[in-house]
């Protein structure tokens, strides 16, 4: 029976049906729900690792030990795992290993929109691109067959529109796959130069075999049609082409590395004009052009952002000399950017950092929202862990920065890639201040546990990393813990540590406002005392607005953190109960 599933749910289902026993990854939108769903199936083991490189390495170990393994991450996570991935291509696998790269065209929740199909080309490993949830389920199963047949890891590349769209899926019975025996084989698994040279030959032979496979696999198919304009497309772009030009000839590519050269040439003979429709980079287009074919692609299809069928239709019709109405209009409406939640423990930190006019090297997580006005307290955000290293670099370039710079990083992110740059700062004589914004969870992606939360993905209790003890063990002498809802103490600690002249770690600890049991009594404005100075608005709390020139707190939104009461100079904000009594 068909059932609605997101692409992510379907990938988890496909892995379960393929007999996958081990799932490992690091949460990142739009990939997160794959492992969360996979973990619920019977007889499997799933875990979050501190980062994507570690996750892939756990996956490699599981594959060598004989279990089919699923490794999941978002596109930028593959950058973190790339060191292991490119050599994994040489060693190959034992039991099947599939790496899901969830790309984010349109930057719905990411810092860039890189096209990870190039990792397939770079690492010389197959790339599969499903076009809906049912294909995602089927492709995962096929990917395990391919992985074992060709002794290679396989990349399943999805995009946000596949990952987070519900479409109908037909479930099948899971297959029981027994563990493959482990065979010690240093020539295959120890990549010293002498062995790696030989393995590179094997990778090339594998590439040839995969090229032959690409020509015959049902993953790639020609859909006959009418007209002399033909489309080559993959992934979600296939759906946009089908919507915009139903009945046109289409070469649908499910396997996008290696590409089927003969099939492409055969398709080219059927049509006069070839248009390649793909999101982001001209990845297929370049391959097709390299075959000596005349092809239309990125000169008409946007190279940035997400596509939709209207964009495709408009671009193609314009190229063919027809034009359709342009619906892009300037609406001139106020934007509604994401904001930190009412009661968010990050808000007071950025309020103080902004007040102290410090340079803040930031990181990726909810706290990146500290860049938004009115807080406007973040100077840089590059990738996970970058803020600490950048603070050290700034100080080395200009010692003045050490007295007015802080690096902020979340708890999960610190474990992901903040520890090594902190070691760097200590080792190389830095004087920086690092604020670990510890809200006891991976909040941005939906509250996944991590090594400091005391719980695993499977719901088991776990030892908790002690950030304060860890920082001391790394050589940090100044380690402080502070509650962000105590503004006075927070201000005092940050001021002191920034001026200290040596490395400081400040653990700013308060649970995420969205975790259960965080709802507190709402606050109220005593109208007679409010002067309308709007100082409380500088917090950027969605629960506070100005009505009739006075501050007003929406009791439905307010989470009772009490920070606004500390900011108000006129004692006009009090706990709700007092004003009602």
């Amino acid at each position: 029976m068909a059932r609605l599933m997101t692409g992510n749910e379907a990938i988890a289902r496909g892995a379960f049906e393929a007999g996958v026993k081990i799932g490992v990854g690091y949460p990142g939108t739009p990939s997160t729900e794959i492992l969360e769903n996979f973990a619920r199936y019977p007889g499997v083991y799933a875990q979050w690792s501190p980062n994507e490189k570690v996750a892939l390495e756990v996956g490699i170990g599981a594959s060598l030990a004989g279990a089919r393994t699923l490794v999941t991450m978002k596109h930028v996570g593959v950058n973190v795992a790339a060191d292991s991935l490119l050599t994994l291509s040489y060693t190959g696998v034992n039991a099947g290993l599939v790496l899901v790269s969830a790309d984010d065209p349109g930057l719905h929740s990411s810092q860039n929109e890189q096209d990870n199909r190039y990792y397939g080309k770079l690492a010389k490993i197959p790339v599969l691109e499903p076009s809906d949830s049912e294909e995602a389920r089927k492709f995962v199963k096929l990917a395990y067959e391919l992985s074992e047949e060709f002794d290679t890891p396989v990349i399943l590349r999805t995009t946000t529109r596949i990952a987070h769209t519900h479409t109908l899926v037909i479930e099948e019975e899971p297959r029981e796959v027994s563990l493959k025996p482990y065979v010690k084989n240093p020539q295959k698994y120890v990549m010293v130069p002498g062995n790696a040279r030989l393995r590179h030959q094997v990778v090339e032979e594998r590439r040839q075999k995969l090229l032959e496979y690409a020509e015959i696999t049902p993953l790639n198919r020609i859909e006959e049609g009418t007209g002399d304009v033909g489309f080559i497309t993959s992934g979600i772009s296939y759906q946009y082409v089908k919507e915009a030009f139903p009945g046109s000839p289409v070469l649908k590519l499910g396997l996008t590395w290696p590409l089927p050269e003969k099939l492409i040439l055969k398709f080219a003979e059927k049509v006069k004009t070839i248009i390649v429709v793909e999101e982001l980079e001209p990845y297929i287009e370049e391959h097709v052009r390299a075959l000596g074919l005349k092809v239309v692609g990125k000169e008409i299809i946007p190279r940035t952002g997400e596509l939709n069928h209207y964009i495709v239709q408009k671009a193609v019709l314009k190229y063919l000399g027809e034009d359709i109405a342009d619906f892009l209009e300037n609406l001139d409406l106020p934007q509604r950017p994401p904001v930190m939640c009412p009661g968010c423990p990050h808000r007071p930190v950025f309020y103080i950092l902004s007040e102290l006019k410090l340079t803040v090297t930031g990181d990726i997580g909810c706290y990146t929202l500290g860049v938004m006005p009115p807080l406007g307290a973040i100077d840089t955000t590059v990738c996970m862990g970058a803020g600490i290293g950048m603070a050290l670099g700034m100080e080395k370039a200009n010692p003045d920065f050490s007295g007015k710079t802080v690096a902020v990083i979340g708890d999960s992110t610190f474990l992901h890639s903040g520890i090594t740059p902190l070691i760097d700062m200590v080792y190389n004589g830095g004087k920086g201040t690092i604020l670990i914004l510890d809200n006891r969870t991976t909040a941005m992606t939906g509250h996944q546990p991590h090594p400091a939360t005391g719980k695993t993905l499977m719901g088991e209790p776990a030892p908790q990393v002690d950030f304060e003890a860890l920082a001391r063990a790394l050589g940090v002498k100044r380690v402080t813990t502070v509650d962000p809802f105590d503004l006075q103490q927070l201000r005092a600690v940050i001021t002191e540590e920034v001026a200290a002249g040596e490395v400081s770690v400040v653990v700013v600890r308060r649970e995420c406002a969205l975790l259960p049991n965080q709802t507190r009594e709402p606050l109220t404005v005593i109208s007679e005392k409010c002067t309308g100075c709007q100082r409380c608005l500088k917090l950027g709390c969605p629960a506070i607005a100005i009505k009739d020139k006075k501050a007003s707190i929406d009791p439905l939104l307010c989470n009772g953190c009490g920070v606004c009461a500390q900011v108000c100079k006129f004692s006009a904000i009090i706990k709700g109960g007092d004003s009602l009594g």
Partner: protein, 187 residues
């Protein structure tokens, strides 16, 4: 029955549950269904939109300008943001509620006048918050709006009730009360 429905609102308002219920009803009717949601950073109080399409065969999960039969809007500013996606004969069902975004809260922008900006569009302004409150379920705004929509689709009412029950857990009764109120008011 081929329909394109846009659900627009503010993160945390319950648009995703509403879309799942509509999708479930369409699926039970044997139709092909696609629902594209927004996750991640956009959920933190930002603007959210869900694209929902059903029919004999659905390709693109997205709805383009002038293609939506219905706009189910949970907030007036968010309704305005997506009005141009309605077909000329399409209908906007709009919760008569204002949630100020940050630029309005901080005085950098003013909240637009809905009626002025929605001229020439078919819309119903629905006091969903008041209706939900009157049913002792202030969080049931999404169910009230769903009731208004259900009245305008041809699926059997029983299918809606079953789907709401299935997806509401311990809030089943409260949610069904709000749905019924919307269904009746929406007549």
């Amino acid at each position: 029955m081929d329909k394109n429905i846009l659900l627009a609102g503010v993160g945390g308002q319950g648009t995703i549950l509403a879309s799942k219920i509509i999708a479930g009803v369409a699926e039970k009717a044997g139709l092909d269904v696609k629902v594209a949601e927004v996750h991640g950073m956009a959920q933190r109080g930002g603007a959210v939109v869900t694209y929902l399409r059903f029919g004999k065969k659905v390709n693109s999960p997205l709805i383009a300008h002038r293609e939506a039969d219905f706009l189910l809007a949970f907030e007036k500013l968010e309704a305005l943001r997506w009005l141009s996606y309605l077909k000329p004969e399409g209908l906007a069902l709009v919760n008569d509620m204002e949630i100020y975004p940050l630029p309005v809260l901080t005085g950098k922008a003013s909240y637009p006048d809905f009626r002025e900006r929605a001229q020439g569009v078919n819309f119903n302004l629905i006091p969903a918050r008041e209706i939900a409150k009157s049913r002792n379920n202030p969080r049931g705004i999404n169910m009230v709006l769903l009731g208004f929509l259900a009245k305008r689709l041809t699926f059997p009412k029983e299918a809606w009730l079953q789907e709401i029950q299935k997806r509401s857990g311990k809030f089943s009764e409260a949610n069904i009360a709000c749905f019924q109120a919307g269904f009746t008011y929406g007549a």
